[in-house]
């Protein structure tokens, strides 16, 4: 009977609206997290820039010492690839685009004859790479949404160990850079050997002129700087990844909410028509019945 269809439609509308409630809530939560994670990126900037400035200063003062520490090795037998993803899904293409970039990188390294070891931040990466026959050696989970500096220190210590033991000769990071709320991009950055950062574009240029003192001497200072600079780079990548995740999630959930709105509207239109139809049919039946009774008299 026509009433059955109406009931089914009503049920579906209810489901769509319930889903909409969830996506709307997730959208609002993500939006509130964007501002916070952006503020953390801004708060991190002076440290990151200061670290890069000191590194440039020290490296340019004693190129020989810098070369020993920072130069690429003659042959890279094994690379360690650090992929920074999120712990949660429902964030559009955020996780997938980083993981695909990581997959491409590993594939290209392997075709060049370099072995690649995978380390990941975020829950999503392990399953993705296992399915593709690239097991993840180590996953860091639980802090992708709100990374702290000690998380970055822990990652840095863990991935630097095989580099120090010469098990790997290169560490590369695949992460999402947050340029603004409207623009993020997946980038591949070499972490170790440390790449000389691009000369910093700073609002207050502080070019050291002439003589600079170093305490202790440059070679020793560089040795101490390298691990801290590694932590700093990883931390800023974690912060930018978190901000990118929230932006992606907000966008995905806004789209899902719009979709639910549209679906709900269409369904209620169909339902109303079905109800109208069934009413019309009923009236026709009654009228038809009455007519039959009268003519039968």
């Amino acid at each position: 009977m026509a009433g059955g269809q109406e009931r089914i439609l009503r049920q579906r509308i209810k489901t769509v609206l319930a889903t909409r409630k969830i996506t709307k809530a997730m959208e609002l939560i993500a939006a509130s997290q964007i501002a916070r994670s952006q503020a953390r990126i801004i708060a991190n900037r002076p440290y990151r820039l200061g670290m890069q400035r000191i590194l440039i200063e020290a490296a340019s003062a004693d190129p020989a010492a810098a070369k020993k520490l920072l130069a690429a090795p003659d042959k890279v037998a094994t690379s360690l690839v650090l992929v920074i993803t999120g712990d949660r899904g429902l964030s559009g293409a955020y996780n997938a685009s980083v993981m695909r970039a990581g997959e491409r990188l590993v594939t290209s390294l392997r075709t060049e004859g370099t072995d690649a070891r995978l380390v990941a931040v975020g829950k999503k990466a392990a399953a993705f790479y296992r399915f593709r026959g690239m097991p993840v050696e180590r996953s860091f989970v639980g802090f992708a949404d709100r990374p702290t500096f000690s998380d970055a220190q822990f990652i840095a210590a863990t991935i630097a160990a095989p580099y120090v033991n010469d098990e790997v000769q290169q560490i590369v990071m695949v992460s999402t850079r947050f340029h603004s709320a409207g623009s993020q991009s997946v980038t591949v950055q070499q972490l170790l050997p440390l790449e000389m950062p691009e000369p910093v574009i700073d609002d207050q240029p502080q070019k050291l002129e002439g003589y600079t003192e170093f305490e202790p001497e440059v070679a020793k200072l560089l040795e101490k700087l390298a691990p801290r600079a590694l932590e700093s780079e990883i931390f800023s990548a974690l912060l930018e990844g978190a901000a990118s995740f929230h932006v992606s999630q907000q966008r995905a959930m806004a789209a899902a909410t719009d979709n639910a709105d549209e679906l709900g509207q269409n369904l209620s239109r169909i339902m109303n028509r079905a109800r109208q139809d069934s009413i019309t049919t009923e009236i026709m039946e009654i009228v038809g019945g009455a007519e039959a009774l009268r003519s039968g008299k």
Binding site: E213, E215, F235
Partner: protein, 142 residues
């Protein structure tokens, strides 16, 4: 006028910035003082207390290791000192009971830590670092 501007920066936040007359800290080479018009310097800081003679009085910061850079600032006669510290805090804001608890927790970890494999070594190192931080906090707060 020769002035000194000090910035104390950690990865999570800029801790303090302001005018000062002197900056006293300890690098791996020993204690040093930076006054306005100091030579450009780059160096490290060993865990300890950094003192800043600011206009509003002496400020003390517990700095758990880091680096500093002293440069001539953008405007004339200004000397800029930037401290980059992984962890740093105002001595007056140190939570003594919490530091005491952290110290005990770290000691407990160190008591049972075995150094069989790499992850344990990392955990051991982190406990050592935590212990160092807690001890510096307690010493600085005294």
């Amino acid at each position: 006028m020769a002035t000194l501007r000090v910035e104390i920066v950690s990865p999570e936040a800029a801790l303090w910035a302001g005018e000062a007359t002197a900056f006293i800290a300890r690098s791996s080479e020993g204690f040093f003082t930076i006054l306005p018009e100091h030579t450009d310097t780059v160096g490290d800081l060993v865990p300890g207390v950094v003192r800043v003679e600011a206009a509003e009085g002496e400020m003390a910061f517990a700095v758990h290791g880091g680096f500093f850079q002293c440069v001539h600032g953008p405007s004339d006669g200004e000397t800029l000192v930037t401290v980059l510290a992984g962890v740093a805090e105002l001595v007056t804001s140190i939570d003594v009971p919490r530091a005491q608890a952290a110290k005990e927790a770290a000691e407990a970890v160190l008591g049972v830590a075995t150094r069989d494999d790499q992850s344990d070594e990392t955990a051991h190192q982190m406990a050592l670092d935590a212990l160092g931080r807690a001890e510096l906090r307690l010493a600085a707060a005294k």
